[in-house]
């Protein structure tokens, strides 16, 4: 929507153009500097990475990109992360859509308590409930045989709940901005409220839902603290697994960088594909 986003048709003055050039160049430099370091370090042999920094690397090698799969079961961690983050995202978004719909479209007792409580969970320091949550999972496992501890399922439950509050709260704003006439018209046509939600509200809210999905995915993708205690070798995620490149006596800097780049590529590509929705989507939720 460039026409809407564009400012005045009037030609911008030189002062603005120069400021823009300078600001954007500096920002791009700031953002890309570590990325450059990652790329150049990932292409060096180990002996050279730990030496004095040089802008132009000597002795380029792609060996680290082969070694990363041997040092650490990177492929398995990657699949685990995809499964965990993917499932957490889907479930989180579905649940958030239901909740946001209820809050946005109905008035009922306890609504305010619900929204305030949900927001307040953002204030919990993770350290406060890491061990208790672990205990609860173990106890549920002992009494029902449901293996939450050490399984992907437990991690999915945890992460989806982590992203729920912000997602619900963003979607409420988004749904509020969709005219009620739309779903009411659908109900007049004989849809129940649930069907109205899926037939009318959700399609109209696709951008917002995409935005929430990206947020939920990134939350699950990057979490370290809970994953380090609640996973085992089979279920370990990338965020924790990358630490496997530093052992007691060695830090394989070049491999850490190579592995990070490799696993980030799909995420960046996903970003690119979703960007247009993301930008349009954050708007309504955020403006609320």
């Amino acid at each position: 929507m460039p026409s809407r986003a564009a400012r005045s048709p009037m030609a911008a003055p030189q002062s603005f153009l120069w400021t823009r050039r300078v600001v954007l160049t500096l920002l791009a430099g700031f953002v890309l500097l570590p990325v450059y370091v990652m790329i150049s370090s990932s292409l060096k042999p180990l002996q050279e990475v730990s030496g004095k920094f040089q802008w132009i690397p000597h002795g380029l090698t792609v060996q680290p990109y082969f070694d990363i799969w041997e040092t650490v079961p990177l492929g398995r961690y990657f699949v685990n992360s995809l499964i965990v983050a993917g499932s957490a995202t889907v479930l989180s978004v579905v649940i958030a859509v239901f909740s946001a719909y209820a809050v946005s479209r109905y008035s009922f007792r306890g609504k305010r308590v619900f929204t305030v409580t949900v927001l307040s969970t953002q204030m919990f320091p993770g350290i406060l409930f890491l061990l208790p949550l672990f205990l609860i999972f173990v106890n549920i496992g002992n009494s029902t045989g449901l293996a939450l501890y050490g399984s992907r399922g437990g991690l999915i439950l945890t992460y989806l709940t982590f992203s729920l509050p912000f997602s619900i709260w963003m979607l409420i704003g988004y749904f509020d901005s969709i005219p009620r006439d739309l779903d009411e018209a659908a109900m007049v046509d004989g849809c129940g409220p649930i069907r109205a939600l899926f037939r009318v509200v959700v399609p109209a809210a696709v951008p917002g839902i995409v935005a929430v999905s990206v947020y939920a995915f990134m939350t699950a993708w990057g979490e370290v603290l809970f994953a380090s205690v609640m996973t085992n070798d089979e279920t370990r995620t990338l965020a924790v697994g990358l630490q496997g490149y530093s052992t007691l006596n060695d830090v394989y800097w070049n491999q850490v960088m190579a592995a990070s780049l490799v696993v980030s590529v799909p995420v960046v590509v996903g970003f690119l594909l979703l960007q247009r929705y993301l930008v349009a989507g954050l708007t309504a939720g955020a403006v609320k």
Partner: protein, 437 residues
Amino acid sequence: MRHLRAAAAVTLAISVAAGVTGCGGGTSSGGGSNESPKTLTYWASNQGPSVEADKKILAPELKKFEKETGIKVKLEVVPWADLLNRILAATTSGQGPDVLNIGNTWSASLQATGALLPWDDKNFEAIGGRDRFIDSAVASAGKEGEPPAAVPLYSLSYALYYNKKMFADAGITTPPATWDQLVADGKKLSKDGKWALGAEGSNLSNNIHQTFVLGQQHGADFFDKDGKADFTSDGAVSAVKQYVDFMAKDKIIAPGNAEYAQNQSLTDFAKGRTAMVLWQAAATTFASQGMKPEDWGVAPVPVPAGAPGAGKQTNSMVAGINMAVFKNTKNIDGAKKFVKFMTSDEEQKILCKTYGSIPPVKAAQSDPAFSAPELKVLRDTLATSAAPLPQVPNESQFETAVGTAVKELFADAAAGKPVTTDTVKARLEKAQQTMQQ
């Protein structure tokens, strides 16, 4: 109505919470059982170059064990970054492995939780008796006077690694045997952007290992007989000051080492930027950094005067890995069999050779592999002049408190701020006050 419901919800939540806390712990009934005699879960620590390498190293041994006993061992190699937290979580919930590796400095702390099987005479008998192990290693497995909480598995000690060429260039013919010699040699070596000694100033554990040994040499134990923190004794202050002074006063450690915590000092050594490091089994790291075995030599860590020995002649902490059994295991006999297997002469030889460590089992040490120059130094040190770190329940607190004090002193020294007996004492005083219990 509304309040009533809220109250009911809170009551429910609290009762659930109380239930959780109530049955939080593992079984405290002791002994373990033999409900599932055919399987074992084993958490190994990461000893080799990577987690994957460890799996490959251990797999054939576990196969052997399965063939002998019919017990299948489920192995998980836990990276060091996660190991202690995983053990804590397992201890808290009772949901953990049957057998596990622990860093030997954690022994007394984990012993205090009561979650580990105590190795009394009867249990030791099941694995061939306490006498099979060297004394210093057993002493590093728990509080003195109580049955150890674990059994020594791999042992190590500190040694002085030096760069032969840099020594020759500086006209030094023999590695230093006393600290005075080390400083004198160090001043010859520290020039033209090169430095004599490497240190890991921001690595808390390493700081503790070094200052503990210096403390022993000054007659300081850091804990009194009742296990109370005693960080500010003259000996402790002198020890810490001596270590930091290598950078602050003697200027034989590069200031940049103050921030090292990722083994950068080994990299510096391998690149010929520093001439000496005090380390435990660094050979494989030097090799992976491209250094040839003939380029470096190994000598015992210096002492104030004379030869290394017990007491004030101590020149290393007892480093190593111990093997423990969770009390609530469902295969107690199998767990003991597995410990017996892993500490058998044969397995000790195989595994210690692979990992470059010293077998804590006396009989296994006779293998010629452990008489190679590097390992001989480590072995002799372990046998004659190594002491375990304080075996107190709050050992990890000690490492954090004093290790941080040393780290901050290094930071001061590197920034050119003065390091005096008073500033050292003040830091240690503060460290001591944060020790609870």
